[in-house]
């Protein structure tokens, strides 16, 4: 049985890694639909995810052992179906971040025209991370504490010089149906609980763990909202056309003319987190496959899946817009089902009685 991931690592992963993907393509997507109120659908989504996370943590807290062990006891072999479904879901979930990162890579890392194979090397990383255990995700959460705050706040401070917050006013002027549609179609980047699920399911709950994770997620959510607000403050009405927000947000900082684009160094730091973020659902898929077929080597399945992902990206990068609208506008219910409804069902796996108080970590 795998060791439990400490609550601290889950909290730090929530605070320092999860917000990064929301700073990539989501800001322009939200700005296109809701203009200065882009923070409103984000707030609703984050509040929804926060509530869902609290519900899941409640389910973890109520009862003995890990939530996974309780699911195993209740579902028996039925748990394999869950593994199978989530293996497919995580693979499905990994598609957009990888495609986003590919576009982002060509736009941000190169002034020149790179070959279409350049991004192919990312799949080596994908295969490598896929071989790792879940504890790598937790350890990365710890490590991100030394990357995210430095890079994020440096960019925000630099961006503030060109930020006009009055462009966000008047508040809540966007029609409700636009906000609702923005919420509906941006389910994918906000599927945070689904990404935390494999970690939380293995959590050996101890007193205070729930608070730690909730606070971690809350901090991440505040960072995401702060970024959206500053982003719109910098780009105002043109925000909808500004893709890959975090690479551009600080470019108007006056000192950059003298010292060069040092903001890019902070962007690159965030990219490390973004690259890892894109690998996480892939790693989960490999772990699910490992559960379904224990004799099948994770390295082999990771390698095979990475090759499949590489070939898919190679053929599909020209149809990015089509894939994006397919995932965003047609297949969005999948994210609602796997990212919201199914995690909510975990409430059925509560042990019924309150857990005996453990010593705090």
């Amino acid at each position: 049985m795998q060791k439990s991931i400490p609550a601290r690592q889950i909290a730090l992963f929530s605070a320092c890694v999860l917000p990064v993907y929301k700073m990539l393509e989501l800001p322009s997507l939200l700005a296109r639909r809701t203009n200065g109120d882009l923070w409103l659908p984000a707030l609703l989504q984050l509040a929804l995810q926060f509530a869902l996370l609290c519900a899941v943590l409640y389910a973890v807290k109520r009862g003995e052992g890990t939530l996974l062990s309780r699911m195993q006891a209740k579902l028996g072999k039925g748990l394999y179906a869950v593994y199978g479904l989530y293996a497919v879901f995580y693979l499905f979930y990994a598609v957009l971040p990888i495609l986003d990162l590919e576009k982002f890579t060509y736009a941000v890392f190169y002034d020149t025209a790179p070959t279409s194979f350049s991004f192919g090397f990312f799949f080596l990383l994908l295969a490598f991370v896929g071989c790792k255990r879940l504890k790598t995700v937790g350890r990365f959460g710890d490590g991100a504490l030394f990357i995210f705050p430095i890079a994020f706040f440096a960019l925000i401070v630099m961006a503030f010089s060109a930020c006009d917050l009055s462009s966000l006013l008047p508040v809540a002027k966007t029609p409700v149906q636009d906000v609702v549609s923005a919420v509906r179609y941006t389910a994918m980047p906000f599927c945070d609980v689904a990404l935390l699920l494999p970690l939380v399911l293995r959590l050996e709950y101890q007193k205070g763990d729930g608070k730690k994770i909730a606070v971690g997620y809350g901090v991440g959510a505040i960072c995401s909202l702060l970024f959206l607000v500053v982003f719109y403050g910098v780009f105002s009405t043109s925000a909808g056309r500004e893709h890959y927000a975090f690479s551009k947000i600080a470019q108007y900082f006056p000192a950059l003319d003298v010292v060069g684009r040092v903001d890019l160094l902070f962007v690159y730091l965030l990219c490390i987190l973004a690259f890892f973020y894109a690998c996480v659902p892939f790693l989960y898929t490999v772990r699910c496959v490992k559960r379904l077929a224990p004799k099948f080597s994770p390295c082999l399945s990771s390698g095979i899946l990475a090759v499949v992902a590489f070939v898919f990206t190679l053929f599909c990068n020209k149809y990015y817009d089509a894939i994006y609208s397919l995932f965003g506008y047609r297949l969005y219910p999948v994210f609602w089902v796997f990212g919201f409804i199914l995690p909510l069902l975990l409430l059925f796996f509560t042990g019924g009685k309150k857990r005996a108080t453990n010593a705090s970590t």
């Binding site: 060069g260 690159y268 690259f275």
Partner: protein
């Protein structure tokens, strides 16, 4: 040595013959003499490894004057043994019953005393091995702090450790390694402070492998490493007894290897490389500042050439406009691409470094002149290399030496980064960094992650990582070492 265990016969001629049969080399000598009343004795020793004067004065002379008690014309064996033991007043004097053990002692530098009629061998510890003096190690020079360094002799090294840790808790367990070298490896730890699991694991790892020869501690280091092929060190090394004992006192296991001045410590974490013995002799603020400086210098050393190449090839925006123009004017007529140029300069640097280490000192000066002035200057004026490239590599080279223990790994990483920067630009740099981070996050030895206390996050252990707290801030031993004795500083005790 692969021999059948056989006992000694008590027949002096036969026993000496058996020993000489095994130790047939010319440097194994024998010295025959008799006691006052004619009992024959023989000393067997390896020439150049024993103190002959001591042997003569404390063993041969008293025994020659000894009158062996005889019972009805026959020698009483137990009485003879006692007589010899009381006559030879030597601090290291023991008996060995088998031929194999006796032979082993001779190879270790001890002297064998065989006495006619006695079926045992006396071992006289009159070892006098050629050793150099204790001096400051060239790899770990300190302006402030102790200057003693380990030498090749394990007994001296053990004494240097014992001198600093005068506690009965200090244990030194000897393990013999190497089928042919039979090298003594001493595992040092503090009982009650070091996690017993670490001690067991070290011993187990040492005993699990049959090596032919163990010429230095690097062999033992490979045995102790969880992943022998890793880029990063997973076992600590030091040449200084003060650092060695400090690490043992923290709860680590130390390993001394006979014939090697480099001692090993485990478990090892990467932040140990940032620490210098001087940090503990200056104010904690200065120590923190220097550690930060070393960390930044390390990143600069590894990444600067790569960023310079990718800025030129793929992302000019990384440089300010004025610098772009300067660089552009320098590289305008160069025949090499930026990546190839950087490869050439870095190759030059590494070659010069390699040559200067191995070259005799008096040739070193000429090498510096040829390398730095002739090669560098003429290569630039001939339009073969650009000045910025030489500056970048020189600065990177200097930065790398701020963390001497990381030079090999840093140098290798610099090549790797240069390779990916030349091919993929900053994307390659970021990708490789993510790859290395993921690798390091899972790299462990003795179940201790090498990136601790950053990942996993151990806040209390951070007090002596990049940040250095004062003495009173370091009340607890590092958590990651899981010591049974957690407290190392108590006030008013």
């Amino acid at each position: 040595m692969n021999m059948k265990t056989t006992g000694l016969t008590g027949n002096l001629q036969k026993d000496v013959g058996a020993v000489k049969n095994i130790l047939s080399a010319e440097d194994v000598l024998t010295y025959d003499f008799t006691t006052e009343n004619g009992v024959a004795c023989t000393l067997v020793y390896a020439d150049g490894m024993v103190n002959k004067q001591l042997l003569g004065e404390l063993v041969a002379r008293p025994l020659s004057a000894l009158t062996v008690q005889k019972d009805g014309g026959k020698v009483a064996l137990s009485a003879l043994q006692t007589q010899i033991a009381t006559t030879v007043r030597f601090p290291e004097f023991k008996t060995k019953p088998t031929l194999q053990e006796s032979v082993q002692e001779v190879l270790d530098g001890n002297t064998l005393l065989l006495v006619d009629t006695l079926p045992i061998a006396f071992i006289v510890g009159a070892k006098l091995l050629p050793v150099r003096a204790v001096m400051e190690p060239p790899t770990d020079v300190a302006v402030k702090g102790p200057r003693e360094g380990f030498i090749e002799d394990i007994k001296t090294n053990m004494a240097l450790v014992r001198k600093r840790l005068k506690t009965p808790e200090l244990q030194m367990d000897t393990v013999r390694l190497g089928k042919r070298s039979d090298t003594a490896v001493v595992v040092c730890y503090l009982q009650g402070t070091t996690n017993p699991r670490f001690v067991e694991e070290v011993k187990q790892k040492l005993q699990n492998v049959q090596l032919d020869n163990v010429p230095s501690s690097s062999y033992v280091s490979a045995l102790l490493s969880s992943r022998p092929h890793t880029l990063f060190r997973t076992v600590g090394t030091t040449e200084k007894p003060d650092i060695f004992t400090a690490k043992i006192a923290e709860g680590r296991v130390g390993v001394l290897v006979d014939g090697s001045p480099i001692a090993l410590t485990a478990p090892f974490i990467l932040t140990e490389d940032l620490q210098s013995s001087e940090d503990y002799f200056i104010s904690p603020f200065m120590a923190t500042l220097f550690r930060l400086l070393r960390l930044i210098a390390l990143f600069v050393a590894v990444l600067l050439p790569a960023f310079y190449v990718s800025a030129q090839l793929f992302k000019m925006q990384l440089l300010p406009l004025g610098l772009i123009l300067t660089v552009a004017s320098s590289v305008r007529e160069l025949p090499l691409s930026p990546a190839l140029e950087m490869f050439v300069v870095l190759f030059l640097l590494e070659t010069l470094k390699e040559a200067s280490i191995r070259m005799p000192k008096y040739v070193g000066m000429s090498l510096s002149v040829v390398g730095a002035l002739v090669l560098g200057e003429t290569a630039v004026s001939a339009g073969f290399l650009s000045t910025p490239a030489i500056i970048v590599v020189a600065f990177s080279g200097i930065c790398l030496y701020t963390v001497p223990n990381f030079v090999e790994t840093g140098s290798l990483l610099r090549w790797l980064y240069l390779l990916v920067a030349g091919g993929l630009g900053t994307f390659g740099i970021v990708l490789l960094s993510t790859f290395l981070l993921c690798y390091l996050f899972t790299l462990e030895n003795f179940s201790v992650p090498v990136l601790a206390p950053f990942s996993p996050l151990l806040l209390t252990d951070m007090k002596d990582s990049v940040v250095k707290y004062d003495l009173f801030g370091l009340k607890q031993r590092p958590k990651l070492l899981r010591s049974p004795n957690k407290t190392r500083l108590k006030k008013g005790d």
